[in-house]
C-alpha cells in the first residue's frame, strides 16, 4: 500500500498541495495543503461534493491551471522524478497527454465539434510522436478505437462527436487519453453524464485498460458506488481539504469522519427497503472564499461540540498512517458514535 510509505517515493506523490484563485470576490481557497500518493497499477478514488476541491486537484496535477493567471499553486507534485509545481510550462505540456492523461466528465462538450473524432485522436498521438506520419497515426488511432470497443472503428474514425452516442463518445475520449500509454490517468467523473447501463460498461473498460496498461488511475467522483467498485484507496475531500483517507475497503467498512458517514448514509442501496428515506448531509457545502474556521465541516457536523471539543480550531492535517482522519472527536468517541448511532442507519 502506497499511502504513508516513507522510503522510496511513490510514482505520484503530492505534498501539501494548495490551490487558490484570486477573484474579484476574494480568494477562492480551492485546495488546502492536501497530500496523497499513488502507485502504478493502483486506483485512487477521490470523493466529495461539488466544490470540495477534487477536480481542481486533478487540474493542478495536469498543470491546466497555468493558463489562468489568477491561479496560485504551492506544494509539491512529484510524478516519478519530475516536480510539476515548479516545472516550466513547456515541461508540463510535454508530460500532459503523454505520461499523464485525463478523461473528462461530459464527452460531448469535451470533444471539438468541428473536427472528426479520429482527427482529434490522431492529433493527441502526433503531438507526442512528432516523427510519426499521418497514416501510421491513423492506424494507431483506429486500433485504439477498436480496443475501447467502438464497432467499425475505421468508419467511425471520420465521424464527428455529435454522431456518437454518449457511451461511444466516452469510449472515444478514453481512446484519446490512452493513446500515448499514460502512466497516470485521471478520470474526472467519467460516468456522470452517462446512462446507468453505460456507466458500468465504461467502468469495466477503464478497469480492463488499467490492467492492460498498468497505469495509475485517479478516479474523481461523487458516486461512492464507483469508488467501491474500482478504487484501492479512497480520499475524502471536504472544503478543499483531505479529511479522510485509507484503503477503500477499510474506509467503507469502518469510516471515521462524520462527513464520510454522511456520504455513506446518503447513498441509495439495493439491499435496503426502497421506501426508506435516505439520510442527506444537512446544510450546504461551504463557500471556498469564506471557509468556516477550524474544521470546515463543523457547521454541518451533528457531533461537533458534543464533548466540548473545539471544532473551530484547526484540525491537524492528514499526512501519514494507513487509514487516517482529520477530526476533533477522540477516536474512541468516534468509534462509539459510529457503532451506536451510525451503523444502524447505514
Amino acid at each position: 500500500m502506497s499511502i504513508g510509505t516513507t522510503n522510496a517515493r511513490p510514482f505520484l506523490d503530492i505534498k501539501d498541495l494548495t490551490v487558490r484563485f484570486e477573484t474579484d470576490d476574494g480568494i477562492v481557497q480551492a485546495v488546502t495543503e492536501s497530500s496523497f500518493s499513488l502507485e502504478k497499477g493502483k486506483t485512487l478514488g477521490i470523493v466529495g461534493e461539488s466544490g470540495s476541491g477534487k477536480s481542481v486537484t486533478s487540474l493542478a496535477v495536469l498543470g491546466l491551471h497555468r493558463t489562468r493567471s489568477n491561479a496560485k499553486v504551492s506544494g509539491e507534485i512529484w510524478l516519478d522524478d519530475d516536480e510539476l509545481v515548479t516545472a516550466t510550462d513547456e515541461q508540463v505540456r510535454k508530460l500532459r497527454g503523454g505520461k499523464m492523461a485525463m478523461i473528462f466528465q461530459d464527452p460531448l462538450s469535451a470533444m471539438h465539434p468541428y473536427f472528426t473524432v479520429g482527427a482529434q485522436i490522431v492529433e493527441a498521438y502526433r503531438v507526442h510522436h512528432p516523427g510519426v506520419n499521418k497514416k501510421v497515426a491513423r492506424e494507431r488511432a483506429i486500433d485504439m478505437l477498436d480496443r475501447v470497443g467502438i464497432p467499425q472503428p475505421s468508419r467511425r474514425f471520420s465521424d464527428y462527436a455529435h454522431q456518437f452516442s454518449g457511451g461511444m463518445r466516452q469510449r472515444a475520449m478514453i481512446a484519446m487519453a490512452l493513446i500515448n500509454d499514460p502512466a497516470l490517468l485521471i478520470a474526472d467523473e467519467p460516468t456522470t453524464a452517462l446512462d446507468v447501463t453505460v456507466q458500468a460498461q465504461i467502468l469495466d473498460l477503464i478497469r480492463d485498460l488499467q490492467e492492460e496498461f498498468g497505469s495509475g488511475v485517479i478516479m474523481i467522483t461523487h458516486d461512492l458506488g464507483v469508488v467501491a467498485e474500482l478504487a484501492d484507496d479512497v480520499l475524502v475531500m471536504y472544503g478543499g481539504k483531505v479529511i479522510e483517507k485509507g484503503p477503500a475497503l477499510d474506509v467503507f467498512q469502518n469510516p471515521q469522519h462524520p462527513y464520510t458517514w454522511g456520504l455513506l448514509g446518503s447513498m441509495p442501496r439495493l439491499d435496503r427497503d426502497v421506501r426508506e428515506r435516505l439520510t442527506p448531509v444537512k446544510g450546504t457545502p461551504p463557500s471556498l472564499i469564506n471557509l468556516p474556521s477550524g474544521c470546515a465541516f463543523h457547521p454541518r457536523c451533528p457531533f461537533a461540540g458534543r464533548n466540548g471539543e473545539r471544532s473551530y480550531t484547526e484540525v491537524p492535517l492528514l499526512r501519514g498512517g494507513t487509514h487516517s482522519v482529520a477530526c476533533h472527536l477522540p477516536p474512541e468517541e468516534r468509534t462509539k458514535i459510529f457503532q451506536q448511532e451510525i451503523l444502524p442507519i447505514l
Binding site: 469535451a110 465539434p113 468541428y114 503531438v127
Partner: protein, 333 residues
C-alpha cells in the same frame, strides 16, 4: 447536403417574392391611397387630362392591383413592353420601370452605380475583417491588460461615432489639413487602378472603422467564450502547444459566428452605403437612393430597395451554404 442547398434556394426565392410584393405595395399602392397619382408624378401636375390618361394606359396604372403586380414581376423576370397604341417602349429584364425625374430606365441607371458601391463595400470589408478579427483575438488573449482596454475603448468609439462624423473629420485631417490624400473624386478601377485605390482609401478606412469596431468586440466575446469551452481544455490536456490550442481549436469555433455576420453586413452594404457614399461624394447606390428619396423618385427608390434586398437575401443564402461547409452539425442536421 444537396437537399440542404435546395431547401435554402427555395427559401431565398420565396423571400425575394415576398420582398417584391411588399415593396411593390409600399411604392405603388401607398401613393394611390394617399391621393397622389403616380401618373402625375411622371408627367407633371399641369398636364392635360388626355396626356395623363395616356400615361395611365401606358404604365398600366388602370389595371387591377394584382395585374399590375403581375406585370411588374414579369418585367423583373423577362422584361416588359409599355404599350400605348403606336408608342411601344420595351424595357428589358430586369425591368424596374422609369425614373419620374429623368425618365431614364432605372435598371441601367442603378447598374451604372454598382461598381462604385462594390468598390467601396468590398475594399472596406477586407479591411475591417482583418482589423476587427485581429484586434479582437489579441484583445481576448490579453484580457484585462492595458492593451485590451485600449482596443476596447477604440472599438467603443468606432461603434458610437457615426460615419458622417468620422468621415468628415478624416477628410478634414488627411485631405485638407495634412494634404496626404487628394480631394475625392471616384475613378473607375479599369481607368486607373492606382487612382481608384487612392481615392477610395479614406472612405474604406472610415467605413471599415465602424465595422471593425463591432467585429473586434464580437471576436473578443466569441474567443473568450470559446477559450472557456471544455474542448479547449481537452486540447490543452492532450499536451498541444498553446499556439495550436488557440490557433486551431479556439479560432475554429470562435470565428465561425463571424462568417454569418460578415456575410450579412457585406450583403447589406452592397445595397449601398448611404452615409459613406454621400459624405465622400461617391455616386453609388446609396448616393442614388438618397437623391431619389429627396426627389420623391419612387421607381428609383424601389429599384435600390429591391437590389439591396436581393443582395441581403443572396448573402444570407451564401452564409447558410458556407455554414453547411464549416459546421458539420449543420450539414448533417
Amino acid at each position: 447536403m444537396l437537399t440542404y442547398i435546395i431547401r435554402r434556394l427555395i427559401n431565398a426565392v420565396i423571400t425575394l417574392l415576398v420582398v417584391t410584393a411588399v415593396t411593390f405595395a409600399v411604392f405603388f399602392m401607398v401613393p394611390k391611397l394617399t391621393g397622389s397619382d403616380p401618373a402625375l408624378l411622371y408627367i407633371g401636375k399641369t398636364s392635360d387630362p388626355a396626356a395623363i390618361q395616356g400615361i395611365r394606359v401606358k404604365m398600366g396604372l388602370n389595371d387591377p392591383i394584382p395585374v399590375q403586380y403581375g406585370k411588374f414581376l414579369k418585367g423583373l423576370v423577362v422584361g416588359r413592353d409599355y404599350d400605348n397604341g403606336p408608342d411601344v417602349t420595351h424595357c428589358p429584364a430586369p425591368c424596374l420601370g422609369y425614373s419620374f425625374k429623368t425618365e431614364q430606365a432605372v435598371t441601367p441607371l442603378l447598374l451604372n452605380d454598382l461598381p462604385v458601391t462594390f468598390s467601396l463595400a468590398l475594399g472596406a470589408a477586407i479591411l475591417w475583417l482583418i482589423m476587427g478579427v485581429l484586434t479582437g483575438v489579441i484583445s481576448a488573449l490579453r484580457r484585462g491588460t492595458i492593451l485590451d482596454r485600449a482596443v476596447m475603448t477604440g472599438a467603443l468609439a468606432g461603434v458610437s461615432l457615426p460615419v458622417y462624423f468620422t468621415g468628415l473629420l478624416s477628410s478634414a485631417v488627411f485631405v485638407y489639413w495634412l494634404g496626404w490624400l487628394p480631394e475625392g473624386n471616384y475613378v473607375p478601377i479599369n481607368q486607373n487602378p492606382g487612382e481608384w485605390f487612392v481615392q477610395l482609401l479614406l472612405p474604406w478606412i472610415t467605413l471599415a472603422f465602424l465595422f471593425a469596431a463591432t467585429y473586434a468586440r464580437l471576436t473578443r466575446a466569441n474567443m473568450l467564450e470559446t477559450l472557456g469551452e471544455d474542448y479547449v481544455r481537452t486540447a490543452r490536456a492532450k499536451g498541444l502547444p498553446e499556439r495550436v490550442v488557440i490557433g486551431k481549436h479556439a479560432l475554429r469555433s470562435g470565428l465561425t459566428p463571424i462568417v454569418t455576420i460578415f456575410g450579412l453586413d457585406l450583403g447589406a452594404l452592397l445595397g449601398g452605403a448611404i452615409l459613406t457614399e454621400n459624405v465622400f461624394n461617391l455616386r453609388g447606390l446609396g448616393w442614388q437612393a438618397l437623391s431619389a428619396i429627396k426627389g420623391n423618385d419612387l421607381p428609383v427608390i424601389l429599384g435600390v430597395t429591391l437590389i439591396a434586398a436581393f443582395f441581403i437575401v443572396f448573402a444570407n443564402l451564401v452564409v447558410d451554404l458556407v455554414y453547411g461547409l464549416i459546421d458539420p452539425r449543420v450539414r448533417l442536421g
